[in-house]
Symmetry: C2
DNA sequence: CATTTTTCCGGAATCGCTTGCAAATCCATG
DNA sequence: CATGGATTTGCAAGCGATTCCGGAAAAATG
């Protein structure tokens, strides 16, 4: 069943059928209804490939994400997909992994599909080493590129993120105010977002004792924390730049008999589902993921519509206090 | 840059270029290399829409899933996407929500895109009320349908699942063996998988005291559990058909001062990330998700290749014991 | 009623690729 | 060297839509 069959049954030309299909003007109400009736009766569905060929677009957005199993990223994709669907766009998903080479390879494959735009979901796509971001600049020459939780300035690149530096600063100050003396900052990799968080942590500590920092994946964290502890290092406040790391830290503390939050305060990041599964529940920084995603989609729709859109949008994050931080009143004894 | 440009630059016809592009036979090594060189130099990328139009396929699989934010489903998608990509198929995502009407609507939209096959990720797509499954039978008339964790028999429908009935039976027996007397079964909705789990629970209890069952979403669970408890009901063993429900139960127990696992044993389901975030860690039933996903993809590849494939494949689940169940030795005091 | 303007519709080109079929070229054999 | 078959190659017809452009019909105008 194609457009010719419909046109024949309705006794009109395919041009008219096409016009009806696209709600284009220049077709009388009578024939419009006649065509619509035939389409409904025959269950006709236009061929997306043919349409794509003519319009050079299939209304599809490519979503790149390092690891869909990461609850934070999955949540982001969930929000994005919802918003894109509301705008009649479909999403092509690609889990790239964390290796640069893999990312580049998968990206090339996605370009083959002629998507209308690309969304890089998660800060792990932008590195603090600028050379590693070249592949994003390159691809932006071909289609609009949206960054969620990353920032790169360049033609055709739009960044939506929250102010991680400030959030990290505030959280660190909060730890200090509640009486913590020895702070530890945990982060899983060197990407834009984590560098910013680290920077906020350092800023809050300026002029005070210097905090410790530890670069580790959630998987290796237990071992590294243990090594640190056995080496005699002590800490009474941990800012984890990822909820998974915070969970790990909490388990570490429990295993050692360190009371949380009395002897050790922990703040996580992303305010993910994980943060409500632990006991005590994790205090965590909420980076307004839904708002970020919604804004990203709106911006992209504007860009695709030819409008002039802001290149960078920064939201504020907020600290959600739960059970792994002390209240200020009881903080400094 | 299209196929004509390439053919001109290489001094051959577009038919030859196409043959090179598709690794088709009937082109001499010399011209093949000549064409490949031009393609490489010019950075030519075939137009996927045109190819799709000609072949009536763009090598794309539609993935339907009720909720990406559910860690179990997200993990499934992650596995599937990986395997499909390895087979050179892309994945179109669609988050449908749990309402039948929404599912049908989104499904129709996805069909518009002319995907090669559909994968229904999660048991929530098949209902125990057969009428509600009609939409799946209908769509299977148009393209292959794969069910992950669901079972429907019908032309062109392939089911991959694990033996939830047996797993549930085993887990229940395990609870009984460790000394539990009053069992509670929690499940969030009436779908195929949950009904099977319930059935296993009931089978293990046959001839003994009848266990309690509670149908509730994770969100409402705290309230309903509290109501139950305040009504005087007691239970010392909970089989939750979903890790999220198990987490909720654990939190409920902690809030009431009920010791886990001494006074209350809990077994979750899916062996998801959540199960390792709680304290104590959740005992949970591992349903071999990766194996299921891998098998599903292999089967689909066979189907698309015209091979005759098994319609139903059932794996065994295994109980992973962690901290919310007692060891048998210490169980019956 | 003639003329202009507007509305409505169809013919046909176009998008870029695949593929069946026929023509051309090649090589080996009698 | 002629002939047959195998190997390469090109022509051209789809695939199913969109859309420009021109003509016919209808409406508005004089």
């Amino acid at each position: 069943m194609n457009i010719y069959d419909v046109s024949k049954q309705a006794g009109v030309s395919i041009a008219t059928v096409s016009r009806v299909l696209n709600n284009n003007p220049g077709v009388s109400e009578a024939t419009r209804e006649k065509v619509l009736k035939v389409m409904a009766q025959s269950g006709y569905q236009p061929n997306a490939f043919a349409r794509g060929l003519g319009l050079n677009s299939m209304k599809t957005i490519g979503l790149l994400c390092a690891d869909f199993a990461d609850p934070f990223l999955a949540q982001a994709i969930a929000y994005l997909e919802n918003r894109f669907r509301a705008e009649a766009y479909d999403c092509l998903l690609c889990c790239t992994g964390y290796e640069l080479k893999d990312k580049e390879r998968e990206l090339a494959l996605m370009l083959t599909r002629r998507v209308d735009a690309l969304v890089f979901v998660g800060s792990n796509f932008v590195s603090s080493d600028e050379r590693d971001n070249q592949y994003i600049l390159d691809v932006a020459a071909k289609l609009p590129v949206m960054l969620l939780n990353g920032l790169i300035s360049g033609e055709n690149i739009y960044s939506t993120l929250c102010d991680d530096e400030q959030a990290s600063f505030t959280a660190t100050e909060r730890l200090l105010a509640s009486g913590c003396r020895d702070l530890l900052f945990l982060y899983p990799m060197q990407t834009y977002a984590f560098e910013r968080k680290l920077s906020g942590f350092r800023r809050a500590l300026a002029g005070r004792q210097s905090g410790r920092t530890l670069l580790t994946s959630p998987k290796n964290a237990p071992e590294l924390l243990a090594k640190l502890w056995e080496g005699g290092a002590r800490f009474d406040g941990v800012l984890a730049s990822d909820d998974a790391l915070a969970v790990t830290t909490l388990k570490f503390a429990k295993a050692r008999g360190v009371r949380v939050p009395d002897e050790l305060s922990i703040i996580g990041y992303n305010n993910s589902t994980l943060s409500r599964c632990t006991d005590p529940e994790l205090s965590s920084i909420d980076n307004k993921l839904e708002a970020l995603c919604s804004h990203l989609v709106s911006t992209l729709m504007g860009v695709l519509g030819g409008e002039n859109m802001p290149k960078t949008t920064i939201y504020d994050a907020v600290l959600i206090e739960r059970g792994t931080t002390r209240h200020e009143e009881e903080g400094v004894l």
